[in-house]
């Protein structure tokens, strides 16, 4: 009895700690009227957007913003449960979630992008060419050696070593996985039919595959594992360069090999402009247009259409309008360029985002 009791007490302690922790993270979700009548907008979710929210929280003075980097899934579920006002997510809600929670809005807010990087001794200073089909082959194990003919065909004049390819993917659920697998799904039919996309997917069994936790985990695994290839958010540009990885040029829908830059990312977003549906949910990888970088993604803020009160609704609307404003608001280049994030094109803001924001009521 005593032994059991001590184990049980241990469990209780864990539960209490978990409870307090949950309270700290989520407990202040409802918007409180502070003495100065400022509204507190709570945010949690995407770790990619976390540094942006930190900058915004320090520069937005109209109301108070609190932020936490807990993961996109936690952002979506927090917003649905109402424990936070804003759930930040790299992925939009699934159809199932939308049907179950019709009162939620997926508001595009920024554009992120991704590198495909490699650590091949002797070739890291080359800008190697890849396309979705070859990458899908590497990640499903059908292309398992660097001297594969399909790789050579994309890179005339480059001599590849005969060495097993080590594909690196994320071990944790991640918006980066979502972004990368959306690109593979759009550019390779096998991948689309058999794996699909998401923050975590049915990774094919590849014995040589390695995983890493977070972008920093991917970078450290690739550093210690030569002949590896992986996908890394461009937010981590400095770390990718100091690790000395090569960065790939990727083939877009028009067949061109393009490297990441603000202009190639914006070009991709502009080409998808006409296709973005009214609910904002669209994968914008593998864009048409000669100059479009193929792995770009819309970042989302998930919010309830009907807010608990008018004050919170008004504060939220004001904040969202400020956040997407690229001339005087949160999407100014001084805030987001250092993180390699791009602002939404003005047309997307006026045609898609503003109508979504205007649905918010209190």
């Amino acid at each position: 009895m005593n032994k059991t009791a001590s184990i049980v007490i241990g469990l209780v302690v864990v539960l209490v700690i978990a409870g307090v922790g949950a309270y700290v993270v989520y407990g202040h979700g409802s918007s409180n009227q502070s003495p100065s009548s400022k509204v507190t907008l709570t945010e949690t979710g995407s770790t990619l957007l976390y540094p942006v929210f930190n900058i915004w929280a320090g520069n937005y003075s109209a109301n108070k913003i609190t932020t936490a980097g807990t993961g996109s899934g936690a952002g979506i579920s927090g917003a649905i449960a109402g424990t936070v006002v804003i759930g930040a997510s790299d992925a939009f809600m699934t159809n199932t979630q939308v049907q179950q929670n019709p009162g939620m809005l997926n508001i595009p807010i920024l554009i992120s992008s991704q590198y495909v990087a490699y650590n091949i001794p002797g070739l890291n200073s080359n800008t190697l060419h890849f396309n979705g089909t070859v990458l899908a082959g590497i990640y499903n194990g059908s292309i398992n050696n660097w001297n594969n003919a399909q790789i050579a065909a994309l890179n005339p004049g480059v001599t590849f070593p005969s060495h097993v390819i080590v594909p690196v993917h994320r071990s944790d659920g991640s918006g980066d996985t979502n972004m990368f697998t959306e690109f593979l799904s759009k550019s390779d039919s096998w991948w689309n039919n058999n794996v699909g996309f998401g923050t975590n997917v049915n990774w094919p069994s590849v014995p040589a595959a390695v995983t890493g936790q977070g972008n920093s985990g991917i970078i450290s695994q690739m550093t210690s594992t030569p002949y590896s290839i992986g996908y890394i958010a461009t937010t981590y540009e400095a770390q990718v360069h100091s690790a000395g990885f090569g960065i790939a040029a990727l083939q877009n829908q028009a067949g061109q090999f393009v490297t990441m830059s603000q202009s190639t990312v914006m070009a991709a977003a502009n080409h998808y402009l006409s296709q973005i549906p009214a609910d904002g949910r669209l994968a914008i990888q593998f864009a048409p247009g000669n100059n479009s970088y193929p792995i770009v993604d819309l970042e989302y803020l998930i919010v309830k259409q009907v807010q608990p009160n008018a004050n919170t609704a008004a504060a939220l609307v004001a904040f969202l309008e400020w956040a997407v404003n690229s001339t005087s608001g949160g999407s100014q280049s001084k805030f987001i360029s250092p993180l390699n994030l791009a602002p939404l094109p003005q047309a997307v803001v006026s045609q898609i985002v503003t109508p979504l924001i205007n649905k918010i009521s209190g």
Binding site: K3, G71, G173, N202, T225
Partner: protein, 306 residues
């Protein structure tokens, strides 16, 4: 009063079981026999099976994580067991009295280091050393298999062993220390050496506590998450084929796959993780209870108080 913790435990278990029911209905017995953990395509239309909704092409089997847990824990015990016995004998026989206390405190301090720090050390120091210095040498002396990365079974097993050595050593050393002085002096008085005291009194007389302490260490290794997550390679859908293979464990998988489970509108991913957690809790509970039952409360007192 004793009923309160019992009730809380009951509530916790009921909750876990309730949450795991959809996964049990969906996966059935294949949860234990399949090594494929497929979250499915959560953006495709969900399917309905046995009365529950699940993502398209999803399937959940714990085998690769279960095998990984067993192998890494076994590897850790294989290292920690002899090291802990060696340390315990050293503390009890060959350490001068004035150094005994600092030495024991040092060992206990290691038990207090957050596991993420062990993981960090594993990634930065251990993995490169394994990959560049140790694994090629092992291959040279006849170990088979493909070297992919410094991460994997060896890194996870070594880190786990370092983490559990303080616990195992504390239990064993304490039980050796509590051997009656008369027994030790009895051996010396017959002309026995320190080694003979160690062999006949300290080892021969503490077998139960050695087994129990090792089981407690096993319990810790089974549940350890963060450090393993960082150095195991966290591979999915692959069973290990050699000592160099990457691996994954039940606890690490729960931590890694939790956030994306929230994006699954059917809730099946979450339910499968809860079922995985339930299995882990049961295994850990059995191992810990066994350890405690064998050691007995007396021998544990010294280490629990610290």
């Amino acid at each position: 009063m004793a009923l309160v913790p019992m009730a809380i435990m009951l509530i916790l278990f009921s909750f876990l079981i309730y949450k795991a029911i959809p996964s049990m209905r969906y996966t059935g017995f294949s949860f234990f026999t399949s090594y494929l953990w497929y979250p499915g395509n959560v953006y495709a239309n969900p399917i309905s099976f046995h009365g529950v909704m699940a993502p398209y092409r999803s399937s959940f089997g714990l085998l690769s994580f279960f095998v990984g847990t067993l192998i890494t824990t076994g590897f850790a015990i294989l290292i920690a067991f002899p090291v802990s016995i060696f340390l315990s004998l050293t503390i009890n026989l060959y350490t001068p009295d004035r150094l005994k206390r600092p030495f024991s405190v040092l060992v206990e301090l290691f038990a207090g280091i957050p596991s993420v720090v062990y993981g960090l050390w594993g990634v930065i120091v251990l993995e490169p050393v394994l990959l560049h210095n140790i694994m090629p040498w092992m291959k040279y002396v006849g170990f088979q298999g493909q070297i992919i990365s410094g991460a994997g079974i060896m890194a996870a097993g070594l880190i786990l062993s370092i983490m559990i050595i303080p616990i195992v050593t504390a239990v064993i050393s304490e039980s050796m220390h509590s051997q009656p002085r008369e027994l030790k002096e009895g051996v010396y008085a017959l002309g026995g050496t320190k080694w003979e005291v160690g062999k006949h009194v300290l080892l021969g007389n503490t077998r139960k506590q050695i087994v129990g302490g090792t089981l407690l260490g096993t319990g810790r290794a089974l549940g350890e998450t963060m450090a393993v997550l960082m150095v195991s390679g966290s591979i999915v859908n692959v069973l290990p084929t050699s000592i160099f293979s990457l691996t994954n464990t039940m606890s690490a998988q729960i931590a890694a796959a939790l956030d994306s489970a929230f994006i699954d509108g059917t809730g099946m991913n979450l339910s499968a993780l809860v079922e995985l957690g339930l299995v882990l809790v049961l295994i850990s509970l059995i191992v810990n209870l066994a350890g405690r039952a064998i050691v007995g409360r007396g021998a544990l007192r010294g280490f629990e108080n610290d």
